[in-house]
Point group: D2
Chain length 133, copies 4
């Protein structure tokens, strides 16, 4: 299993008139945590794109359990629990003061610049294998 944790301080711009972080804001936080998980794997997403690969979101499921608001420091856990094959499944948990406020799952697949689904780049596969060996 690969696990990363990201600290995020909720921005004012991320709140809405209900007084809490808008449910849209979480989507960018999950993305941010995926970026940091790929960093921790030694395969930064910036490099993946520089190599001509993209990793779009195919599915995203979010369970909002409790809220957070401006200035809260939240921890976003990102998990890669199974060795990816054609598709990559990530899981997320957002923690605020020790409480799980949100869980989520996403599904991804590699595409090339033309938008065609492709096999993951070899060096990324190697990094996955090293961690799941």
């Amino acid at each position: 299993m690969i696990h990363s944790t990201s600290q995020i301080r909720v921005r004012y711009a991320e709140t809405d008139k209900m007084g809490f972080a808008h449910h849209e804001s979480y989507v960018a936080w999950f993305e941010f945590s995926r970026i940091e998980l790929l960093d921790s794997l030694g395969t930064p997403y910036r490099e993946i794109e520089a190599n001509g690969y993209y990793l779009p979101v195919l599915e995203l499921n979010i369970q909002y359990k409790a809220s957070c608001t401006f200035d809260d420091i939240i921890t976003v856990h990102c998990y890669l629990k199974e060795q990816p094959r054609a598709r990559i499944r990530m899981e997320y948990e957002i923690e605020k003061e020790g409480q799980t406020i949100t869980t989520a799952q996403s599904l991804h697949g590699f595409i090339n610049h033309a938008g065609t689904p492709v096999r993951p780049p070899e060096y990324v596969v190697a990094a996955f294998e090293k961690h799941f060996a």
Copy 2:
């Protein structure tokens, strides 16, 4: 069943460096279509909040099937297929030039200003009943 359709023109600000609308942008589009569904029911969300009720998102599931980009005119269909009880389930379909590019489902529950789950306001229940009778 209640069904609304909203036309949205994709904004430049909603795109990302992959060249398409960022997957976060869809979340605001679904919300926009819910607002228009509540309008068509005669129970605008603005009024619901003015009456002291809020309808936060409890769950959101999105299936991204194909992309859209800047200046595309998309149609967001919002469906309320079953008469809501304590919780309201909405379904969505985004169409671009006759093709379904995204589907989604959301779950909502009414809360009051203090954040406590409450029964839906009577006049909203009445509007639901009228449509599902």
Copy 3:
């Protein structure tokens, strides 16, 4: 002078915990109104990019005079008051129920895909000339 008007319904996602539209949201509205001004000129921005030109923002000045909030229908006026030379200056006014709530000005210059400043495409110059003749 070229003048376009765009109707925008303020989204819930565009509000913040102060209860009003967040000051960031206006930036996307101004952009949206520029797009519609270019449409009215017969030179859609989508085409400009398809032809290898980009029109980034060099300067943006905003004067927030009064607020707007969720579900408000606002009118964004976009003005091109002088025939553009190397740079294009746009002016904006946001109206809500007959009151000017915001004014703004932006400055733009054409660049090519490499990011180098370039002269405007001929067909855009021709469209400008036709309107300012």
Copy 4:
């Protein structure tokens, strides 16, 4: 003079199809840096709101000089150069690898919950005085 510096890693969601951070994204970064400047002054904005005061943006001027993109680490400098009276003027500079890519200035005034302009809270005035004495 009061000066704060904030490190920000540009998010993928903050980019646009031109390949750079969208000009809207900067607005939230300036806001984030103001929050950190108020922290460094010992008067967190969260507390200011908890005390019934708000500090909306009255004017915002941005000069975009060079771009930044996904995964860039940028430094946002926020400056309060003069002791605020009724209004507070902030200045900003965004640095990327030692180069100034953007400058900006904003103007703010305190209001109460009803939206009426009010004098700054005493404890904030005291904090300003201490730094400008």
